[in-house]
């Protein structure tokens, strides 16, 4: 992927929520089709949605379990409608992280696409063949490539990653999407690429747990040949 210079003052999503950035990286910016198998895309996006809540410390994940800690009750409802909705489910029922990933994976692609479409970043692109799912293509050429370009540029220039970006890299690796997005980093800055594993391991325990659970869920889907 070519790396355009980072731009400031881009479209409204410029700050980029975790799941939005994962979504744009997981979709081809022209056809709007997913680069990963459907089920792995779903798991990656589900993990990114949980990641958004974990970054805000509204949920905690430990030893395979997901909790909504009591102090999170004092926080205001998330401003974003989708994460607010996800949180409602997490409050209402108790399940292991893997069950939540499987649950949100079913609808995560449409849910995140809906959020991005409402912000005017992507638009539905009807499928070309009857057996394909609909695509979601960026409305402007830049919108689709920007998140990846920004991440790659930052890594290539050796600039430190934010907590959210480190989680994003962790999810790219857990789903195999790093092969597409980060190949340039691996080729030209192999030291940085190797260093990433340590940075991920140094994240808050809740976030490393989310990433390992995602990796296990993706691995299990691949091993049972039902991606």
């Amino acid at each position: 992927m070519a790396v355009p210079p980072p731009q400031d003052g881009g479209p409204a999503y410029a700050e980029g929520r975790l799941a939005d950035e994962f979504f744009l990286m997981a979709h081809d910016d022209e056809s709007g089709r997913t680069r990963l198998p459907e089920r792995i895309t779903g798991l990656g996006l589900a993990a990114a949605l949980l990641g958004e809540l974990a970054l805000e410390e509204r949920i905690e994940m430990r030893a395979g379990l997901l909790d909504v800690p009591p102090r999170a009750g004092g926080l205001p409802t998330p401003a974003d409608a989708l994460t607010a909705r996800v949180l409602q489910y997490l409050v209402a029922e108790q399940h292991p992280v893997r069950t939540w990933l499987a649950f949100f994976a079913r609808t995560a692609r449409d849910d995140v696409a809906g959020r991005l479409a409402a912000a005017g970043v992507v638009a539905r692109k009807p499928r070309r063949r009857p057996w394909q799912p609909d695509g979601w293509a960026p409305t402007t050429p830049n919108a689709g490539t920007l998140p990846a370009a920004r991440l790659v540029t930052q890594l290539m220039r050796g600039r430190p990653l934010s907590e959210q970006q480190t989680v994003l890299v962790g999810l790219l690796r857990a789903t195999g999407l790093d092969e597409v997005i980060l190949w340039e980093v691996r080729e030209s800055a192999p030291e940085t690429a190797r260093h990433l594993a340590e940075e991920i391991a140094a994240l808050k325990p809740s976030l490393t747990e989310l990433i390992s659970q995602t990796e296990a869920a993706v691995g299990a889907a691949i091993a049972s040949h039902r991606t």
Partner: protein
């Protein structure tokens, strides 16, 4: 996710249950992996020809019963462990991680032998078919290489033959086998119906080990049923019922078709007929239409089986790569969700086998398909015996939640029977390969598994001393990422 409806309690469980697989779906997946026509037309006829043993129908019945008893403990334990599609996960948890790595390598060798063996049947079958229909003479190994190339590409780009395609092929295969059996059955040799080949007491007359090995080979694929546990409607019921159902259904088909062949051509002549006609022994019992349909379906069945075993091979390598027991690269996937390296390694093994047999000028049907196939089947038999023992030990330490029949009695019966079978097959290996006296090949081929086991134990001991983190996650497969054993039972505690 329903956007505006209030979150109702239990909605998560209900939504997940909606997508889950029922008994028929699981049974279909399992049966498609077993490839019944490949066994009936390929394995049974070659077995009649090479071993000269006539009690194969009886062996199919006996082995199905043993496997049903085996499945009781196997399926029960699969609910308590992760990575439950792989024998070595059971063996690691029951008999220790050293035995687990040994089991993993035995399985890798066995599944690879089964996979490459299929090219030895596909090549000559297509060669004969094209020669007969178009009068064009092309060497078997060129067709085998073509099939290999397609398997390699499909393996790398991840075009799975979808469940629907496999389901349709499976259904038509079963119908054709039944129709051929009825055609053949109503015309018994000498107008006399003989039930000799179904008589279990005939098994003891010699060649029992060979007959048992062939029967075990026929059922390989049934062990995949726990793979679908995480997605089963009811983890406690769907998988066991689907497993027993699949075993009984194919037992009827195998025992029926192999009995009819002996009955149609005559018990004393079946070996020589099968020697001359190969898979045509089955197809020749029907009219022209059934004969042609059978031949075409036989090739699609062989191809589907080659692809299924290719996938089984990389799944094992992938799981071991994820644990870092084998190189990490094997556990890495590209964007398309395929462990490319693991898939490519299996393809390289297939290519090597075809090239070696082509250069050596060895007989593809007997020396590649039947020898390597039955040797692979013997490897699976060893794994079944080890797994049964592992089930007993595992439940002796963790008895919770299973009754004594499932955790002790059934696994003990199957362990004893399977160990006896391993002994009989090992003892009869030369007969199985078609020799009348002990042979070099009859010693070398089964000892491949001894080598695999020794290397496996040695490697596990090295890991214990030098890489304890890797040693700790042996057997967890993809769950190695979390370092926790997430069993289907725990994950699906609410999936009812």
């Amino acid at each position: 996710m329903a956007r505006n409806a209030p979150v109702a309690p239990g909605s998560v469980t209900a939504a997940l249950a909606h997508d889950r697989l029922g008994i028929p779906s699981v049974a279909y997946f399992v049966l498609a992996g077993v490839a019944p026509l490949t066994v009936t037309a390929g394995v049974v006829t070659t077995a009649y020809a090479i071993t000269g043993v006539t009690s194969i129908p009886a062996a199919f019945i006996l082995v199905a019963i043993v496997l049903c008893v085996f499945s009781v403990g196997y399926v029960a334990m699969s609910r308590h462990i992760s990575n439950a599609g792989a024998f070595y996960a059971f063996i690691s948890r029951g008999l220790g991680r050293e035995a687990g790595v040994a089991g993993a390598l035995i399985a890798l060798v066995a599944y690879n032998l089964l996979q490459v063996g299929l090219y030895g049947m596909f090549g000559p079958t297509l060669e004969a078919f094209i020669q007969q229909k178009a009068n064009v003479d092309i060497k078997w190994w060129i067709y085998a290489l073509a099939a290999w190339a397609v398997v390699t590409v499909l393996g790398l780009v991840r075009v799975d033959l979808s469940g629907k395609v496999l389901g349709v092929l499976l259904t038509v295969e079963l119908i054709v086998i039944v129709a051929l059996s009825i055609y053949g059955g109503v015309h018994p040799a000498g107008n006399h119906v003989s039930f000799h080949t179904l008589n279990p007491s005939d098994l003891t007359k010699g060649g029992i080990g060979a007959a048992l090995a062939v029967a075990v080979l026929g059922y390989v694929g049934f062990e995949q049923s726990p793979v679908y546990a995480e997605e089963a409607k009811n983890a406690k019921r769907t998988i066991p019922v689907a497993t027993y159902l699949s075993l009984i259904l194919i037992m009827v088909v195998y025992a029926g078709a192999s009995w009819v062949m002996a009955e149609h051509y005559g018990d004393s002549k079946i070996a020589s007929v099968a020697g001359q006609q190969g898979p045509g022994t089955l197809f020749g019992m029907g009219n022209d239409f059934l004969n042609n349909a059978g031949q075409v379906l036989f090739m699609t069945s062989l191809f589907a089986a080659a692809l299924a075993f290719h996938n089984a091979c990389w799944r094992y390598a992938f799981s071991l790569g994820r644990e870092q027991v084998l190189p990490v690269t094997l556990g890495r996937t590209g964007a398309n969700g395929v462990p490319k390296f693991a898939s490519a390694v299996q393809s390289a093994i297939g290519l090597a086998a075809i090239v070696i047999y082509a250069i050596g000028g060895w007989n593809p049907m007997t020396d590649l398909f039947f020898w390597l196939g039955t040797t692979g089947g013997f490897g699976i038999l060893i794994l079944l015996a080890l797994t049964s023992a592992a089930v007993i030990v595992y439940f002796a330490r963790n008895p919770g939640g299973e009754n004594i029949w499932r955790r002790l009695i059934a696994p003990a019966i199957s362990a004893v029977l399977l160990v006896i079978m391993v002994y009989l097959v090992a003892n009869n290996f030369s007969t199985l390969l078609g020799y009348t006296s002990p042979s070099v090949a009859g010693k070398i081929l089964p000892s491949l598994f001894v080598v695999a086991a020794v290397v496996g134990v040695g490697w596990a001991l090295y890991l214990r001393a030098d890489r304890p983190d890797t040693y700790a996650v042996i057997g967890l497969g993809p769950e190695a990422a979390t370092g926790q054993s997430a069993s289907v039972g725990e994950l699906a505690e609410e999936n009812v």
